[in-house]
């Protein structure tokens, strides 16, 4: 269906209590989100457009990412939830499996329009509980002025991405050539991003969970290889020691602060980096081992089951994933679309459009098997297990074997509930 067709489906809405028993005001759609400056601006514009087209008010509440979960949880517990909220793909299952979300089947005209991995990410037992709003992924941004003196050439296609061995050689060469206090790279696994360590596990050919998604299988030769390699980041001083998983120093801050020559960053960080730095930087692909991989970035939009404006909420979701709305969102935020029809299109990225093809291509390395493992309902608890144990492996003296055993134990407990 065309964007125009989807938009026409929204016409004639008057809002008002067509849904359940939540506390929303008729004709007002309450939406909770976190947002960067770029995201907040486009979110407001799209919300206003939806509001004016449908003669409703969209009450958009932008709060810090760290507070979204507790805010939404508290409102759901109090029986006064927002009509719509933004949620990570990895946290959606916790809400859907406990009956908090609206089945959005009536508001999705063509499920096949979405990239399958992301459509899968919003489903629980075959029922969609949200729409895949966008995705983002990690690639490497680097400073040519620091890599060239070390004689480093950079891959220009996914097929040519550095192997782990080559990446280690690159890091050693940089370590030898960089000035004191500047490190080869920084990785984006801090705090809620701890799960991005799984990219290394997947690249090594390993899995976190078995095919049934019921048991941890991280205690494997592949798991050991991934953990021992990532421990080297710290023992060989390839990364600043204060960028471990529990750190409050994020990769964009380290890169902007000229502490590293390279940084693994999500594409959504490009506007912030572009605004802050006055040196040239380019992008290349993440290293690959047995295979290439990436992390499941991006977010879904969901409506709450108890929303007093369920129909209006559903239509808002429908509107936000039209081709027009998604194109505008991606162009202004440097994030990636989830509609197949937009993949490979010139979306008119406003910031560093020359770098975006790297991120787009990197995103294709994410498989449905990878997605399934990071969207289990207990994944927020799994992320905390990774956070605690990886920290001990990186900054403490916990061995790789003990760490994998502790991760497996913690993950099994989380999955078992």
């Amino acid at each position: 269906m065309t964007a125009g067709g989807w938009l026409s489906g929204c016409a004639g809405l008057t809002g008002g209590g067509s849904g359940g028993g939540g506390g929303g005001r008729p004709g007002t759609l309450s939406v909770i989100t976190w947002a960067s400056d770029a995201e907040a601006a486009v979110f407001r514009d799209l919300a206003d457009r939806f509001g004016s087209e449908n003669d409703v008010t969209v009450d958009l509440q932008v709060i810090p990412f760290e507070e979204v979960q507790t805010t939404v949880d508290a409102q759901l517990q109090a029986g006064d939830p927002p009509d719509v909220f933004r949620v990570t793909y990895t946290d959606l299952g916790r809400y859907s499996t406990t009956g908090q979300l609206l089945d959005v089947t009536p508001y999705v005209d063509d499920a096949a329009a979405f990239i399958p991995a992301f459509w899968q990410a919003v489903q629980t037992d075959g029922t969609p509980y949200g729409v895949p709003h966008h995705t983002d992924t990690t690639a490497i941004v680097y400073r040519p002025d620091l890599l060239q003196p070390a004689g480093i050439t950079v891959p220009t296609s996914l097929d040519e991405a550095w192997s782990w061995e080559e990446f280690a050689e690159v890091s050693d060469a940089l370590k030898a050539s960089l000035p004191q206090g500047v490190f080869p790279f920084v990785y984006d696994w801090q705090q809620f991003g701890a799960y991005r360590w799984l990219t290394w596990l997947f690249e090594a050919g390993g899995r976190l969970l078995d095919d049934d998604l019921a048991t941890a299988v991280v205690q494997s030769p592949e798991g050991l290889k991934a953990l021992e390699f990532t421990q080297r980041f710290f023992t060989e001083q390839w990364v600043p020691r204060n960028t471990s998983v529990k750190s409050t120093t994020y990769p964009d801050a380290a890169f902007i602060g000229e502490r590293t020559a390279m940084a693994f960053v999500g594409d959504f960080l490009l506007p912030g980096i572009e605004a802050e730095v006055d040196f040239d930087y380019q992008a290349t692909f993440q290293p690959r081992d047995v295979r290439a991989s990436s992390d499941l970035g991006g977010n879904a939009l969901v409506a709450t089951a108890e929303s007093a404006n369920a129909e209006l909420a559903g239509e808002f979701l429908r509107f936000m994933v039209t081709e027009d709305a998604m194109t505008e969102w991606c162009a202004r935020t440097t994030e990636l679309p989830t509609l197949q029809s937009l993949v490979g299109q010139d979306l008119g990225y406003e910031v560093r459009p020359d770098l975006m093809p790297v991120f787009v291509e990197q995103a294709t390395t994410l498989t449905e098997e990878d997605v399934a493992q990071v969207t289990v309902p207990a994944f927020s608890q799994v992320n905390t297990v990774l956070l605690d144990q990886l920290e001990l492996a990186f900054l403490g003296d916990q061995s790789a074997e003990d760490t994998l055993a502790a991760i497996a134990e913690g993950v099994d407990a989380a999955i078992a509930g």
């Binding site: 949880d73 471990s244 602060g257």
Partner: protein, 316 residues
């Protein structure tokens, strides 16, 4: 209340009676009703926002309770799990270390500054304001300032140290230094509060005692030790109780500055409870941790109260 009782007594006198059983009962019941009316709003607020959540937390702590969905009674399982959890005991030790490091330091510095600013120091009001300022900022704002100060690569403290040729400590990746950064920011915030309370306490110390001490040949230090310190003892007690409670409840600084790390080196009990109760959505287990924290603070406060009351009654 006094005027109400007075009116009642006048009515009794006009009727020529001075206290039949019925009038005494009426007077008592009016007095009781008035007392309840006065205390009612506060009692309702305390019941609604303190006792009810507390009771709820007790109930949750005996259940397997997530954020959503049904809960299940599990008896003492959450407590058994907690007492066998190594991280819980590390959090207990961390909280105790943090408390021991922050409470005496902020109180002693506060007393020292109060004595200094109680004397004829130029620009007293400016100094008082500067020192007191951090306490009126939000906890999260001071924590973010702390993050900027103690970031170990590009933070202000290590930059300043580097400027004078000193390699700064690993504030974020060494457990002891990470704890030290929390203590320093806490002392910076709390010292102003201690100072202001002590300044008020110093007004109650009779000046002629200092004069008498000087006549007896006491120097400045002896006057401080023998006159000031004993006479501000009730103030000290007040500050110890408040600061201990504050230190046991430290959360925002840990949340914003260290996230409990490196490892679990700065994981305190409130942060540990928050992680389970909200981040991991295990509200039963989180409540059990919170309840233990509550009981520890309660016991400590009661102990302090009893000890101090005895000391004050015995003559400070």
């Amino acid at each position: 209340m006094a005027s109400e009782v007075g009116v009642g007594a006048a009515r009794v006198a006009r009727r020529g009676g001075t206290g039949t059983g019925r009038t005494r009962r009426t007077r008592r019941s009016r007095s009781t009703a008035f007392s309840w009316a006065m205390a009612g709003p506060n009692t309702a607020v305390v019941a609604l926002f303190l006792l009810l959540p507390l009771g709820w937390a007790v109930w949750l702590s005996f259940r397997d309770a997530g954020t959503f969905g049904p809960t299940r009674f599990t008896g003492l399982e959450n407590y058994r799990r907690m007492f066998s959890d190594e991280v819980f005991w590390q959090a207990v030790v961390n909280t105790a270390v943090f408390t021991l490091a922050t409470v005496p330091t902020s109180i002693l510095l506060g007393l020292g500054l109060a004595v200094l600013l109680d004397s004829a120091l130029p620009a007293q009001r400016v100094w008082r304001t500067v020192i007191y300022l951090p306490i009126v900022l939000s906890g999260l704002a001071t924590a973010l300032i702390g993050s900027l100060l103690f970031e170990q690569s590009i933070g202000i403290v290590n930059k300043l140290l580097a400027a004078v040729g000193v390699t700064g400590p690993d504030w974020q990746t060494d457990g002891a230094w990470a704890m030290a950064s929390l203590v320093l920011v806490t002392v910076w915030v709390r010292v102003g509060f201690s100072m202001v309370i002590y300044l008020a306490g110093l007004q109650d110390v009779p000046r002629d005692l200092y004069e008498a001490a000087r006549l007896d040949g006491a120097g400045a230090w002896q006057q401080f030790r023998q006159v000031t310190v004993p006479l501000v003892r009730p103030t000290t007690f007040f500050l110890v109780v408040l600061n201990v409670i504050y230190s046991f409840q430290v959360f925002d600084l840990v949340y914003a500055m260290t996230n409990g790390g490196p490892g679990f080196a700065t994981t305190t009990l409130p942060f540990f409870a928050y992680q389970y109760g909200f981040e991991q959505r295990q509200q039963g287990y989180g409540s059990a941790i919170g309840l233990v924290l509550f009981l520890v603070v309660l016991a400590f406060t009661a102990l302090q109260w009893r000890g101090q009351r005895g000391a004050v009654q015995g003559g400070a």
